[in-house]
Amino acid sequence: MIHSLFLINSSGDIFLEKHWKSVVSRSVCDYFFEAQERATEAENVPPVIPTPHHYLLSVYRHKIFFVAVIQTEVPPLFVIEFLHRVVDTFQDYFGVCSEPVIKDNVVVVYEVLEEMLDNGFPLATESNILKELIKPPTILRTVVNTITGSTNVGDQLPTGQLSVVPWRRTGVKYTNNEAYFDVIEEIDAIIDKSGSTITAEIQGVIDACVKLTGMPDLTLSFMNPRLLDDVSFHPCVRFKRWESERILSFIPPDGNFRLLSYHVSAQNLVAIPVYVKHSISFRDSSSLGRFEITVGPKQTMGKTIEGVMVTSQMPKGVLNMSLAPSQGTHTFDPVTKMLSWDVGKINPQKLPSLKGTMSLQAGASKPDENPTINLQFKIQQLAISGLKVNRLDMYGEKYKPFKGIKYMTKAGKFQVRT
């Protein structure tokens, strides 16, 4: 199982180590540093690195490498999932996950890590339970603790830990009972030069914020559940009920959680809400190139596209760009060759465009590669797959909760090739 964990910052310092079995010397990380050196960018460090006596599995998040050390055959996904869980827990506890924050809260971090694994076996990874065992630091609590000498370690066995609903604690009370659901869809797409879709798929999630008293039992039904043929559920969802009736039936955890994530595959026709018109030409033997892109709405079901942001990694041969946007602001970093254009809202009557010239290295031949345009955008009140919640019912409790459902579509990895 998981032997040890090392946290390494981007300059290559190990700033935290935790061992769940015997101590593994931190020199084991030298193999990791070697691999890091070989991979030019941090993102390209391979996630599994063999060493003579151990295996190093790592994830890179928030500019920190979380490196787990294992010695025997352990499912690598198990380790990687766990590492992601560690990151999420830190974020949950401290708001952000960064080196200074971890150092500031090192004792809590240690206590939490100790609760998460025992001898390398996961012990408590649900944030509900962890928070009962180790209370997250707040300014108020720190002050109170220093005055009263009490601690941030819970001294009772968390209630949910062994019940049939380990994700929910008992005795939850609210004066305002509310349940909000956000249906968020991200479009991953590759669009080719001519504007036709090569592949497009939707990654959707339903995130919930449920603050309900007692032990409510909820059911959520959809207008068109057929869309959901590839789903992953939070453990609270009763799978049998979904299989037979296509209804989500569950006792929700308290607070924020991801109820469901789903995937609408490339085989279904995915509507593409925006288009990009581009003409980028590098001319041989001239030190000037022309650059022009226009963004416009396509299948938006009458909704506005907002938060549009265009980024593109320009070829090395581009020295500088002088561009004029019809709206928004743009920057070009001549060192990293990154062009970004913050467009904002798209007004269908007056399409935003960015025009101008590029100055190229004199005498050099035309660049080999074509820049790819990355697009970000948001559309409120629309789930692009057409998914719609039909109704939400609550059983098991008497009061009447506030209910709310929000839809949003975003660009995921949305790339336009030129």
């Binding site: 199982m1 190990i14 700033f15 769940w20 079995k21 015997s22 390209n44 996630p47 599994v48 063999p50 006596h53 295996y55 599995l57 994830v59 025997t72 055959e73 352990v74 499912p75 690598p76 996904l77 198990f78 990687i80 766990f82 150092k103 500031d104 809260n105 090192v106 004792v107 240690y110 206590e111 100790e114 025992d118 001898n119 076996f121 996961p122 990874t125 370690v153 819970g154 001294d155 066995l157 830990q161 062994l162 991953d188 080719d192 090569i198 798929e201 990654q203 590839d230 992953s232 453990p235 799978f239 049998k240 994530s261 995937h263 595959s265 490339a266 085989q267 590669e369 990895k413 790339q415």
Partner: protein
């Protein structure tokens, strides 16, 4: 007020200061001090000197302080074993605490103190905790057993903790069950002989129930444990699959992949006609696709596993090509894996899309990725025949880009395309030649030279081109030198008049000025060949080359099956069986897919024995295929044939044969000096005086071997046995045997007259039999057989008689008539007389057929104490028409892949593993696959007879 203050005390007397604080009367000060100690510990400072002071703080009501002290203890107990004993009392006391949280904490910490002396004091508290009323304590105690086992295995066994742990599998609380399974799995891994996880249908049922209720991590443990179980029949397999399928919708990707493993393994047992089988296939695709939308690290592991799954069951993801398209900001390790899977999924239906993508990738920034993309186009051409033309034109487009590394890669793959589709795309040669000057990598240069040599007759200025390479001959790498030598010889054989000088020059460069023995030897062989018999030289050098195929980058079927059992593990990431890389090989259990009909025989076959088999015999049972795999891994996206043609292993067999035929006569005849009218024989001085002879003898040895194989020696003939004793046939004794020579079968009979009268009018007839054996001519005994006389007759047989299945299969009932009476007898003929001469299967066919024949048709046999090595085995079998298709050496064990065909067209495929036993004998392990499994037993007997005589 943050914890960073703990890091800032860097004053000189830090330790003393801490010591004072730890011994302070104020609780608050103590706690702060312990926190400082922990903080120093985390950054790797040595604070072990404070051990007694910290342990003194242990007896406290403050839980946080207790936990902190425990943290410290775990880190340093090992370095201060004597002091650690001080902590024992507190543990024992804490294990009786009314608060379950404290009981659990004590039992947890206890196990982490890796000090031998202490462990025995901890047995009693642990025993109590294992039976605790609170499940939280029980589940913690279960893990503690695993910890203790790691420290002192003997103690755990003696104390009977393992049995208690096994009992916990039936616990009412699913979390306890999951932890017990996890602990047992970990112990089993280090002690494979203990047979701890002895699964039976009852315990499986309990596990499946717990599966639905326990945490995600517990689900992973339980699923991995289930995967080691072998259901007794397909119905049980299906019911387990049905209960595991819901796990595919879990949010935790490790759960999903473990579930995929269980399903992939048990699916093997389901009949393909079953509706459920189709449903299951459909259910597997979406979760695998979903894994690809996760974080890149998860994607990588998922992709490595998908790579195995698409090789085993391509039908699952055949419609999902698009999800493997590369995004430009994917990490490089994800890109390369996606590319590999794209090629595996490429088919006629989607090739257009794939090619368009690959062409797009060829313009990316990352050079490594671009190269692999170009190679991938070549692999597509070789894999999907219909697309070859399109691939070639795509490659030509890429060559037009003039990007140096793209051009070089393109030329390397075009060479492979020429090898696969000869005489089809040579029109592009002109374009290739234009880029000659830009090639600077050895592989690309070698490929280009090969192309020029191979198609010298179509390239007008081939001699000039090759000559230009010759100028810097000594600066080239060996690969290029060898290729250049061969190419110029080819050129000479095609255009002898203009290129004499060139060939002289290259031969002298290769033989006189080079230090490389390979190059020199090849030079000499060509030289002798050309000087003795140019016709033979032509046959040898310009011989038709075997076609290459895409199979080279596939994982061997047996290994693939094993790896499928390891989905989701490190083994699946490295595509190696764990025996190849897990530290010390300890605890490695050979796994294999269950056979489709898992009835009673499944327990007999060693292959299907449930995992948990003793590892003591590991080295004998498991081939460590590590190296082979390593090679495969390295090959990765490489072209099917690595180096220059003619030197690689795939042509070796053909080449040896050719040389056998060609050089045999060359060496036999005294060299007549001048080969062609214009050819000048090499000056005598260039050949060292003894070279001719040594080479001659060396080569003839080689030819003895090959000619022995090729000539009419025929298959093994058993000594004659008495079939019909005289007393049963009124004085006629018949003994005989069967032979096969040059395609014809005959029955060699010896008739002895032991009666007192003359015998005449012999005739023979066969009853209908399994393979339609029948006499091809009447039995001819020319003179009457007088008393005490013996006559030997060879009766030719054919296989066109009528067919009836006999029991045993090779039973032959014969009737012999003479002037006295009609006699009946039956005999068993050895099956190898039915092995036909054209029983050699093409490698690719072999691989496809092997995969195609269902696993339940596989039969395994042992041939003990055979005194032959692989070479001898192979040649001995070949003379009986069992042909070696491929040979591989895996960590010192030779693996032979063989094929044979019976007269009635039944193919039998064999995998023969030669295990070195004691020095003079080897044990052979034979696996046979055949669509008619009933012949396997007899084929095995044939193997045994051939090899043992």
């Amino acid at each position: 007020m943050t914890d960073s203050k703990y890091f800032t005390t860097t004053k000189k007397g830090e330790i003393f200061e801490l010591k004072a604080e730890l011994n302070s009367d104020k609780k608050e000060k103590k706690k702060e001090a312990v926190k400082k100690v922990i903080a120093s510990m985390t950054v790797g400072k040595d604070v072990s000197a404070l051990f007694p002071d910290v342990v003194n703080c242990m007896q406290t009501d403050n839980l946080e302080l207790k936990k902190l002290v425990y943290l410290y203890l775990m880190n340093y107990a090992k370095s201060q074993p004597d002091m650690a004993i001080m902590a024992v009392n507190t543990f024992v006391k804490d294990c009786e605490d009314p608060n379950p949280l404290i009981r659990a904490l004590a039992v947890r910490t206890m196990g982490c103190i890796r000090v031998d002396k202490i462990t025995e004091y901890l047995c009693e508290p642990l025993r109590k905790c294992l039976k605790d009323e609170d499940p939280y304590v029980r589940k913690t105690a279960a893990v503690c057993v695993a910890k203790l086992h790691d420290i002192n295995a003997q103690l755990v066994e003696d104390q009977g903790f393992l049995d208690t742990l096994k009992d916990l599998i039936s616990d009412s609380n699913p979390m306890v069950v999951a932890n017990a399974v996890a602990a047992l799995s970990e112990i089993a891994e280090s002690h494979p002989s203990s047979n701890l996880l002895d699964l039976n249908p009852q315990s499986i049922n309990k596990l499946l129930t717990a599966l639905n209720e326990c945490t995600e991590w517990g689900q992973i443990f339980i699923l991995d444990c289930l995967a080691n179980y072998t259901p007794k029949d397909d119905r049980e397999a299906q019911s387990i699959c049905e209960r595991v399928t819901p796990r595919l919708s879990h949010a935790n990707s490790a759960v999903v992949l473990s579930a995929v493993k269980v399903l992939m393994k048990f699916m093997e047992m389901l009949s393909k006609d079953l509706d459920y089988y189709g449903t299951l296939l459909k259910k597997l695709a979406p979760p695998l696709v979903t894994l690809l939308s996760a974080e890149p690290e998860l994607q990588y592991v998922a992709l490595r596993n998908i790579n195995l799954i698409v090789q085993k069951r391509p039908e699952i993801l055949k419609h999902e090509m698009k999800v493997f398209f590369v995004k430009y900001n994917d990490p490089i390790y994800v890109k390369l894996e996606k590319l590999d899977i794209m090629i595996r999924l490429a088919s006629q239906a989607n090739i257009a899309q794939v090619l368009a993508e690959l062409k797009e990738y060829a313009t990316e920034v990352d050079v490594d990725f671009v190269r692999k993309a170009v190679r991938a186009i070549g692999r597509c051409a070789i894999k999907v025949e219909q697309s070859a033309e399109r691939c070639v034109s795509t490659l030509l487009d890429l060559i037009q880009t003039k990007v140096n590394y793209v051009v070089q890669e393109a030329i390397v793959v075009i060479k492979d395309i020429f090898r696969k589709y000869p005489n089809k795309y040579e029109s592009v040669i002109a374009t290739l030649c234009e880029n000659l000057d830009s090639l600077d990598e050895p592989e690309a240069r070698a490929a280009m030279i090969w192309i020029v040599g191979e198609y010298a007759e179509r390239i007008d200025n081939a001699d000039e081109l090759l000559e230009s390479f010759l100028e810097g001959f000594h600066d080239e790498s060996t690969q290029v030198q060898l290729q250049l030598l061969t190419a110029i010889v080819k050129l000479f054989l095609k255009k002898p008049t203009e290129t004499q000088e060139l060939v002289q020059q290259v031969l002298s460069l290769a033989t006189q000025d080079s230090d490389n023995p390979d190059l020199r030897d090849r030079g000499y062989i060509y030289w002798r060949l050309l000087s003795t018999d140019p016709v033979a030289a032509k046959e040898v050098v310009l011989a038709e080359k075997p076609l290459i195929s895409e199979e080279t980058d596939l994982i061997e079927p047996t290994l693939l099956d094993e790896l499928i059992c390891y989905i989701g593990t490190l083994a699946s990431v490295y595509h190696k069986p764990p025996s190849a890389f897990v530290e010390g090989g300890r605890g490695v259990v050979h796994k294999s897919l269950p056979p489709r009909t898992a009835s009673s025989e499944s327990t007999e076959s060693p292959e299907t024995a449930p995992a948990g088999a003793p590892s003591g015999e590991q080295p004998d049972v498991i081939p460590t295929q590590g190296d082979l795999l390593g090679d495969l891994l390295n090959l990765d996206l490489g072209p099917p044939v690595g180096g220059p043609p003619l030197t690689t292993s795939s042509v070796q067999m053909g080449a040896v044969d050719l040389l056998g035929g060609g050089l045999d006569s060359l060496m036999g005849d005294e060299p007549e000096g001048i080969g062609g009218p214009n050819f000048v024989a090499p000056p005598a001085a260039t050949v060292p005086p003894n070279l001719g002879t040594s080479m001659g003898s060396g080569l003839s040895d080689l030819f003895d071997l090959t000619s022995g194989v090729g000539t009419l020696s025929g298959s093994y003939v058993a000594p004659k046995a008495v079939w019909l004793p005289a007393m049963k046939a009124k004085g006629l004794e018949i003994s005989g045997t069967f032979t096969r020579q040059v395609g014809s079968i005959s029955m060699d009979l010896q008739l002895t007259n032991k009666a007192l009268q003359v015998m005449t009018d012999f005739a023979i007839q066969f009853n209908r039999n399994s393979f339609g054996l029948a006499p091809a001519a009447p039995l001819q005994v020319h003179a009457p057989l007088s008393p005490n006389q013996t006559v030997e007759i060879s009766l030719p047989l054919n296989t066109v008689g009528s067919v009836m299945k006999m029991e045993p299969l090779n039973n032959l009932q014969v009737a012999v008539k003479n002037n006295i009476d009609v006699f009946y007898f039956s005999t068993l003929y050895p099956l190898h007389i039915l092995f036909v001469e054209d029983g050699k299967m093409d490698r690719q066919m072999f691989l496809a057929t092997w995969k195609d024949i269902p696993n339940e048709n596989e039969a395994q046999f042992q041939i003990r104490d055979c005194s032959l090595n692989a070479e001898a085995v192979s040649s001995r079998l070949q003379s009986s028409n069992i042909f070696t298709v491929a040979k591989r050496n895996v960590e010192g064990q030779d693996m032979l892949y063989q094929s044979l065909k019976l007269t009635n067209g039944i193919w039998v495929l064999a995998e023969l593993r030669i295990q070195p036993g004691n020095p003079s004998f080897t044990d052979l392990e034979l696996s046979l696959k055949c669509r008619a499994p009933e012949v396997s037993q007899h084929v095995y007997q044939a193997y045994e007879t051939i090899l043992k005589n």
